[in-house]
Structure formats: C-alpha cells, structure tokens
C-alpha cells in the first residue's frame, strides 16, 4: 500500500484534512501544536488505498523541537510515496518557507492550499496555476473544513506518487549556491540519499548533519575561511533563511491577490476588537478568571444565577419523579440538572435489578446492587457534568481563546521561569493528564518540560471531578455552608496555585536553564465546529464508559469482597465490615494520614477515606466508586439523611465524624497526589528514569504537605494566626535588636 505524509505549519489544518480523508476522529484544535506525534490512517478510493500519516506541525525541517525531528526523520527515512504539503492559504508566504525546504528532498510533493474559502470570503484570490508553475509542483486549492477539493487533491497526489521527482532548491542564485552544489556533489559521490537536502543542512551547520557527515563539513569551513574578508555574512543559517524568504516574496507573492484594503481592515478590526477586550493589558487575567468562574457556575451551581432569594421555597414537580431534579429552593445549573437526571436513571436501574433479583440470598443482592451497581452508578452519575465542563474547555480551544490565554499568562509565567507555551499542556491537563504530558514535547527546554510534566496532575482532570463535586456537594448538604460551585472552583484554583509554587521552588533549586522564549502564532478567532466538539465529547464519554465497565467494574467487586471477608476468609454482614480485610489494611495506614485530618482522629469507620484514596491510584474514578460500594453497607449502621448524588459522601461524613477542613484536605490530597496508573506510565515514558522516580516522590510529598497545611490551618486557624503573628512580631523585634547592636558597635 502506498504511504503519503501530511506535512505543514502548525494550525494549517492537517489533522482536519487527515480526519476527513481517513474518517478518523483525531483531536483538532484552533491553536498551534495540537498534534505532537505521527498518526496513521487509511484513505480508500475506488482505485487504491493509501496509508496517510499525519505529521506534527512544523515551521522548518531544523532539529530544534522534537516535532521537527519526528517530521524530518519520517520524510527522510520512511520515504513516503508522496508528501502532501498542507499550506494555510491565509498565510501563504510564511507557509511556503517550509515548502522551499521540502523541495530539496527527492520526494513527490503536492501542495494542498487549505482554507481557500476563507481567502475568497475575505475578498482575496490566489492564482493557483501561476503558483503551480512557479513552484514546479501540483497545487490544489481545498477547504478541509468544508470538504471541497479533497478528491482532486488525492487524485493528483496518486498521480504524483507514480513519477519520480528530482530535488531542486531556491538557493541556486544565493551567495551560497555554489557551495551547496559542491557539497551536494560530494555527498552524492558518497552515495548519500537526498544529497541536496543534506548539503543545504550541512551548509547551515545543522547539528545532526555535522555529526553524520563530518568529512564534508571541512568544505563549508574552508569556504568560510576564504570568504572571511569578502563581506559575506558568516552565519550561514541566517543567510539561507533570508534567501528563502526573499525567493518567496519575489516569486510566489505575486501569485496572491490580497483582500481590498477596506475589506482587510474590516477583518482585522473584527479580530482586534475581540482581542482588545480579551487580551487587554489589565483586564485580560481578571476576564479569564471570570470566564472560568462562569463555566464552573453553569456546570456545578445549585443556585444558578444566584436567584435563590427570589425563588425561596420553590420546588417544581413536587410529588413526582422529577421533584428536586431542576430546583429545590433555588434553580439548579444545567450541569446539576444533568447530574440529577443521570442519578435518577441509575437509581431506577438499580431498583429494577433489585426487583429482578428479589428472593436471592442477601449477599448476592449486596454484591450486585450495592457493590457493583452502586460503585459504577456513582461514577456514571457524574459523566454528563464532566462532559459539560470538557465541552466548555473544548469550545475555548476551538475558538482560538486558549491560545490567547497562553499569551496573556506568558508575562506571569515568565516570572516563574516558564513560557506561556507551557500553559497549553497544563490546560490540556483539565481534560486528561496523559495527552497533556505527551504535548510537553512542544517545549524546547528539557527542564521546562520536566517541570511542566510534574505540575500537570495538579490541573484536575475529568476523572478527579466527581471527587470534587461529590465532596463539595456533601459539605454543603451536611454542614450547610458554602456553594458547591465556589468550593469546586476554589479547588481548581488551589491546584493552579500549588503548580505555581512548585515551579517557583523548582526554579530556585533544581532548574538552571535560561527562560525559554515564547513564540506562538495567535490563530484567528473561529466559530467552534459542532462536529469536532461532538467527536471530542464522544471520545471522552467512550473513555469513561470503557473504564466504568472494565477497571471500575472489577475494582468494585474486589472492594466489596475484601470489605465483607475477614483475613481467615469468614463472611461478614454489612454492620460487621469493621473487621474486614479492607478495614484492617485501612486502619494500618490511618496514623500516616492523621496530619491530613482523615487518619486516627476519625471514628472506627475512618479507614474508608484512606481506602478510597488508595483505590484512586488505579483510576481516580475509583475514589467515588469505592464510596458508592461501601456507603450502602455503612448506611445499614448509620442513617445519613444525605441527598441523591452526594449521599454516599454524606454517609461517610456521618459515620466517620470527619470535619470540613479534613474533607477539603481529602480533596486536595486526591487532586495533588500520585495520579492514576495511565498517567504514571506516561510520565515514565516521557521522563528520564532518575527524574521519574523523584517525580513520584515529588507528587506524594507535595500532596502530603499541602493537605496537612489545609487541615492544620483550617482546623486551628485562630491558633495558626496567633503563632504567625507572634513569629512575625518576634522577627521584627530581633531585627530591631540587631540594628541597634550594629549601631552601637
């Protein structure tokens, strides 16, 4: 089967084209650097099938970032039958810089002029035939988003793949033209494949080429020596880049007819108008925090739009199955309504199964209904709410706002030794830490990459969300204080604050790299594609469902079994669970968690919090699944009176006597501690072995310290305040004494 590669600048629409050609559902986004790895798919047409490889976006074939190395190695070593060079037609001059480099490789190339519809809508025009002649390559105008020109593109690519193409260079007439030709001949004599490409790179003194072709480097050095006094710029990399841009401007720019001035101004001003507000020097960060709060309010609030004072006592659908689903004294937010509907549905399923199993032995009912279904349903209840939050984040990515967030936070991040670019994998961490860690490959500094990987789990992923929502809801339900949306939002901010403090600490101790520069193209604002959003949400929902019916299913069975058997394998009734294997193991660890507030100070049921946190190491959803499995059993001993959805945690609170600071500490511990197995495995793959081990220790120590501080300050804040005040006062007194002594001397 033939193999074609998709290569082009970041955000030029390669993945959108890849998805449309292969029917894949790879994640696309309106910001540069979404794809950091190659991915393959098959394009089928009537005549033949072609393997398509979607390469990461690159600006050049230099070896500066891992994406550039991946793309360069693939084109040179894997020898694709054709390279489809995806060019953003709205930024054609800059995109053709890469094309001038691809021309130097002996590979058939077809240029896909993407987003041609945007150029035409803006009143511009590209003379495709003229450009084709100038480049000496087939050029096809397409719109990957609308699917136009795709068949023509593939037909021409298949045609091109049948012919051999001889490499050419646009540097022939440059001051380095002769040198490039000489080095190319020398390399050809050594049977080097793609001699022209390697020759240009050698002249640039590209670090990979210098190592590969040491003997030919002498030719370049000799040329430099003989031209030292002839006024030639001896930074050959700069000379090559300059000549490429000059060639693009001279030969290709005339094929582009720009939008008429008035129209262009209008387009610029539309984007500028939005940017004037969203990237304002002062208001940008408060605006970002406000947008994020609105997102959390819509997803988690039980007092939507703060209408409670106007709706006092309002309980729609009273006496029906929908009582308390939409409002209860206050209007619920859409996210909470979805949670309630899902909870009602899972409860209905459980009661249906319980009716079907009526008359079965008690342990069978307990295992299936309380253990397995209780555990799985407690996770599934939160799926709609998680998807809602992820859809907001996805909309922010697709619209181009997330790239602005990286830009506006760059100044703040720079103070802590990171670039705004590092923010993108961190924000991806809100969805899932695994792709976020892989995305750190776009960072050029190794130390910045390690620091970013270490703090990614502090940005709570979708799987941790049920823990936050359930515990925050239970705090409000049981103690009647705060709002679930404010508590959840604050915990997200806490995660970000811990990330910043961790980076500052790393910068002051182990990081000694210079600050990484931040260069990122800001994409135009675009309306998010509903199809992309649906694909993204479906893949997340599928991931949750797969986990629920494999690892969480198995975990709930194991948890139920070890909580209903003793070490000598004797079956226990629900109320005897304190003598179980699980309780024994949990109690053993209780002293360790005492400084965090959920250890020895709790009642005999306190071990459930420790057990839940430990099962969370397999998958974070397990924390709530464990509560779901054990809550029904504890409910036979302690009457909780908790409401639906958060009832399991309310049962735990009633049974253990845990306090609010300890509950907050519990959330913080689960948010910040060692993440799930999948994330740990990714960190192992992405980090050097030594750094991986210290990273595991780092996660545990940070979570332990942060949770202890929360518990101690929350429980004895008045004492802490006095101690701190006394310490500060003592510090001042000592300073004054030292000053006086120094004066006297």
């Amino acid at each position: 089967m033939k193999k074609f590669a998709l290569a082009g600048n970041p955000n030029s629409g390669k993945t959108t084209l890849f998805n449309i050609l292969t029917g894949s559902t790879a994640h696309v986004g309106n910001w540069p650097g979404v794809t950091v790895d190659k991915r393959e798919g098959v394009y089928k047409c009537a005549d033949e099938s072609v393997v398509l490889v979607d390469l990461p976006g690159i600006y050049s074939l230099s070896p500066y970032t891992s994406e550039e190395v991946i793309s360069r190695n693939f084109i040179l070593d894997e020898k694709p039958d054709c390279v489809i060079n995806v060019v953003d037609a709205t930024n054609i001059e800059r995109n053709l810089y890469l094309t001038t480099q691809l021309l130097e490789i002996d590979v058939p190339i077809v240029v896909a002029l993407n987003m041609i519809d945007e150029v035409e809508n803006n009143g511009g025009k590209i003379y495709v035939e003229k450009l084709e002649k100038k480049l000496g390559l087939p050029v096809v105008a397409i719109s990957a988003l609308k699917g136009s020109g795709i068949e023509k593109l593939m037909t021409r690519a298949i045609e091109a793949s049948k012919k051999r193409r001889q490499a050419t260079t646009v540097l022939k007439d440059s001051p380095l033209g002769h040198l490039i030709a000489d080095v190319s001949i020398a390399l050809e004599a050594q049977n080097v494949e793609n001699p022209l490409f390697h020759a240009v790179k050698l002249v640039e003194l590209d670090e990979i080429e210098v190592l590969m072709h040491k003997s030919s480097v002498k030719m370049v050095e000799e040329f430099k020596r003989t031209n030292t006094d002839k006024g030639l710029n001896l930074d050959f990399e700069a000379v090559v880049a300059d000549n490429r841009y000059k060639h693009v401007t001279k030969h290709y720019s005339p094929t582009v007819q720009k939008a008429k001035k008035s129209q262009e101004n209008e387009i610029v001003s539309k984007s500028d108008k939005i940017d004037r507000v969203l990237t304002h020097k002062i208001w940008a960060i408060p605006m970002f925090l406000l947008i994020m709060f609105a997102v959390f309010h819509i997803t988690f609030s039980e007092n939507f739009l703060f209408l409670a004072p106007l709706l006092d006592g309002w309980l729609p659908f009273e006496g029906t199955a929908f009582e308390g689903v939409f409002a209860d004294g206050a209007l619920f937010s859409p996210g909470v309504i979805l949670l309630n509907l899902m909870t009602a549905f899972t409860d209905w399923i459980i009661s249906l199964v319980a009716n079907l199993l009526g008359g079965s032995p008690e342990w069978v009912l307990g295992l299936i209904c309380d253990g397995v279904l209780g555990g799985i349903s407690s996770v599934l209840s939160f799926v709609p709410q998680v998807l809602m939050l992820l859809s907001f984040i996805s909309i922010m990515e697709d619209s181009g706002y997330m790239a602005r967030v990286a830009f506006i936070l760059d100044r703040l991040f720079k103070k802590f030794g990171l670039s705004g670019r590092a923010l993108i994998p961190m924000i991806m961490g809100f969805g899932c830490s695994v792709p976020a860690m892989v995305n750190t490959r776009t960072l050029s500094s190794e130390q910045e990459r390690i620091a970013t990987i270490r703090v990614i789990p502090f940005f709570s992923c979708g799987a941790k969300l049920p823990i936050l929502t359930a515990v925050a809801g239970a705090i409000v339900s049981k103690f009647g204080v705060g709002n679930p949306d404010v508590i959840t939002y604050s915990m997200y901010l806490l995660g970000m604050a811990v990330a910043i403090v961790s980076i500052i600490t790393m910068k002051a101790t182990v990081m000694n790299d210079d600050d990484a520069p931040f260069i990122m193209e800001l994409p135009a604002y675009r309306a998010p594609s509903i199809k992309n959003l649906a694909i993204h949400l479906w893949s997340k929902a599928k991931h949750f469902l797969e986990k629920a019916f494999t690892i969480i299913f198995a975990s709930t069975i194991v948890i139920w079994v070890v909580s209903h058997f003793t070490f000598d394998w004797r079956f226990l009734a629900d109320e005897q669970m304190n003598d179980s294997i699980l309780a024994g193991l949990g109690k053993l660890l209780m002293p360790i968690f005492t400084p965090l507030g959920f250890g020895s100070q709790l009642t005999e049921w306190g071990w459930v919090f420790i057990v839940a946190a430990i099962t969370g190491l397999i998958a974070k959803e397990n924390v709530i699944a464990t509560f779901g499995t054990l809550a029904a059993c504890i409910g036979t001993v302690v009457v909780s009176g908790g409401e639906e959805g958060v009832g399991e945690v309310v049962s735990m609170i009633t049974a253990t006597g845990i306090t609010i600071p300890a509950l907050i500490s519990f959330i913080a511990f689960n948010m910040l501690t060692i993440p799930c197995f999948a994330t740990v495995a990714t960190a192992k793959a992405e980090l050097p072995e030594k750094k991986f081990k210290t990273t595991l220790l780092f996660w545990f120590v940070v979570s332990f310290i942060a949770s202890s501080v929360i518990y101690v300050v929350g429980s004895w804040w008045w004492t802490v305040f006095i101690v701190l005040a006394v310490a500060v006062a003592l510090g001042f007194v000592l300073k004054a004494i030292n000053k006086r002594r120094a004066k006297q001397q």
Partner: protein, 57 residues
Amino acid sequence: MTPIEILTIIGCVAVVSGTIALSIVRKIKAKKSGCAPSCCGCKYASQCQSANKEKTK
C-alpha cells in the same frame, strides 16, 4: 448453593480475571510492538512511528 449464587461467583471471577488478563495482554502486545506503556491498546500500535516508540527501541 443456589444457581444464582454460583452464577454470581462465576461472573465476578470472570470479570476480575478478565480485566487483569486484558491488561496483561495489552501490556505484552505493547511491549512486543515496542510502544511505550502509555500507548497500550492504541489501534495504530502496529504502524506507529512515534517518538515514544523510538525511545523504547
């Protein structure tokens, strides 16, 4: 033991051992194809040329 009890025990053993077996098989497959553990279960494992894979080579 009633049939429902036997069925429940068999079902639970099957789910737990099935999940463990699936996880082991995925890891062995991933290791054989040279992928990183984070790529376990990826449908492109046999064709993948990722940096992860190159790292494990």
